[in-house]
Structures are given as structure tokens and as C-alpha cells.
Assembly symmetry: C2
């Protein structure tokens, strides 16, 4: 049961943006700018951006965001979808690029305590080909999911149990991106 009367039965973040479109609009615009458009000099694919969001949501134990963004990442990776679960299990050994692995190490520090992002971690990502845009977008995706996760959990929004519900969400997110849901 959500902590406040949301007047809709949508799950997770969708129930909150339907309840409060004034804050929902900039939240979805931020998600679209970060998870789809990205920095002009960024090399991160949409599938990789969704994977960073899923890894941070896993670290914060927010099942709704973890399951929905993992599903979006699987949809966008297509034939390489197995990378998502391999990375969620262990980003150090998953068969992802060294560049993405170095960026995920930064993302995990941002989520734990952003003051622990050292020059060495940033330099290691650059050595693997990460651009300033990649580093910026990684830090802000990780920071933004520390917000989304807390917003969804702090108000105790609905978290579906059915994996099929997330697969449908992931396909919608992968196809349409982040557009405000319409009230029923």
C-alpha cells in the first residue's frame, strides 16, 4: 500500500508521475535526456545506459526500477540480452567492454558515496576510451537513480511480481522512451 493516496493503480514511478504531473514532467524529461538522447560526445548506447540504471537500482535494492530497467536493457541489447543478467550478477566478470566496466565502477561509487569517485577511477575509464560525456552521463544516471529509487521506495509504491509485466514495460521503454503516461 502506498503511503499516500495516489488515486491510480499504476506501479512504481508511473503512479507518482500520474499523481503529480508538475514534478513528473521534469523527471521524465531528465530520464529521456539521460537514457536516450545523451551527450553529443558520448559513446554509450541506450542499452548500456539502461544497464547502468539497473545496476544502481540493484545496489539500492529497488526492485521496481531494477526489473523495469533491466527489461529495457535486455530489449535494447537484443541478441546480447544475456549481458544484462551477467552484469547484474557480477560486473567484474561479465563479458562487457572494459570501458563499460570502468564506467560501472564509477556508477557504483556514486551510488554508495559520490565523494569516493577518485581521479584514478576516472583516469582508468579514460584509458578504456570513455569520453567526458560518458563520465558525465554515468555520474548523472547513477545519481538520478539514487533519486528515482528513493522516490519509489520512500512512498511505498506498487511493485508487480510478474516478470511478464516488466518485459512489457521494458519493450515500451525501449520503443517509446520516456513519455508521461496518460491518466486512464
Amino acid at each position: 500500500m502506498p503511503h499516500i493516496q495516489l488515486n491510480n493503480d499504476a506501479p512504481g514511478i508511473r503512479s507518482l508521475v500520474l499523481y503529480r504531473p508538475d514534478t513528473g514532467k521534469p523527471l521524465y524529461e531528465l530520464a529521456q535526456a539521460l537514457l536516450r538522447a545523451g551527450s553529443p560526445d558520448s559513446t554509450l548506447s541506450d542499452a548500456e545506459r539502461e544497464l547502468i540504471a539497473a545496476v544502481v537500482s540493484s545496489q539500492n535494492c529497488t526492485d521496481f526500477c531494477l526489473n523495469s530497467h533491466a527489461a529495457a536493457s535486455r530489449f535494447l541489447f537484443g541478441r546480447q540480452a544475456d549481458l544484462v543478467d551477467q552484469t547484474l550478477q557480477d560486473p567484474e566478470t561479465a563479458p562487457i567492454s572494459s570501458r563499460l566496466r570502468a564506467l560501472l565502477a564509477i556508477a557504483r561509487c556514486v551510488a554508495a558515496d559520490a565523494r569516493t569517485v577518485t581521479n584514478e577511477l576516472v583516469e582508468a575509464a579514460r584509458q578504456e576510451g570513455a569520453t567526458d560525456g560518458d563520465i558525465h552521463d554515468t555520474v548523472l544516471i547513477a545519481a538520478a537513480f539514487c533519486m528515482f529509487n528513493r522516490y519509489v521506495d520512500g512512498l511505498a509504491t506498487l511493485t508487480p511480481d510478474d516478470p511478464a509485466a516488466y518485459a512489457a514495460m521494458g519493450e515500451r521503454m525501449g520503443t517509446l522512451g520516456y513519455t508521461l503516461p496518460k491518466p486512464n
Copy 2:
């Protein structure tokens, strides 16, 4: 030294929104919606909203956000400005309303681990007169500052030392709200 080339010498979040106006725009719109406009049924003043932001930034040890939002809160509290430092020192004993004290307890749980926001904490805030809008806005302000704090710290943006710099920022934030800075 910031971790990436921001091409400006503004401090904190301002350097980041100048560097990336595409993400800066929704971030400032979110701040304006949360710290100024608020929910239609909310009883929180702008000074109280800034104080919630300062308390969370203090918990996350992000000096730039702590000092600037504390300064905005002092400016907006006017003759009651001492409440800000009393609350930052100890929210349990500061001479603030019981309603704000109960909401700050929720905000601190959101920042630490949002899954610890219990029905009891929410009910305690309601008993002190908090509305659904107050609870929503408190949770989202706390969550949003977990993002802003991590964005500012994760990229190692400039943090001025001079208290006068923050007093000027606080007056500007208290007067103009959150509008994107113009490039020099």
C-alpha cells in the same frame, strides 16, 4: 579540480547546468517545482523546503548544497533565520514545529535507505498535521537532493570556502528561485 572539462568556472551545480543545459533544464525545473511551487495541498513554506534540502545535504556531506540551501533557508526565514543552524545541529531539539520535525525524520530515512520509511513515521507526521502533499514533497525533496549531492560530488565540482559567497547565492535563490544561469 572537476573530473571533466566543464569550460566554465562556476561552482557546484551551476557549473554542471552550464556545461549540459539539456539535463540542466529539467533539473532546475524540478528544483523550482519542489522548492518553490510545491503541491497544492502542501503546508510547507519555501523556507522549510530549503531546510529539508539543507538537512539532507548535510547528511550526505555535500558542502556546496548544504551551504547554499542553508543560506536560502536563512534568507527566507528572515527574523527566524537562527532556526536553520539549530535544526542542522539537532533536528530533534530545534524549536521548529512538530510537523516539520516529523517530516524531517521521514527525509532523513529517505536519504539513508528509503525502504525504512515506515507507516508509523508517516502516521506520526499526519498526527502533526502533515498532508499527503507535505509527505510527497518531503520524500521527493530528500530523494532529489540525494541526486543533486551525488552529481556535484561525483564530478568534484568547485566548492567555494567563503561564507559570503553562499549568503549571496541564498539571497538570489530566495528571490529569483531556480532559473538556468546564463553563460558568461
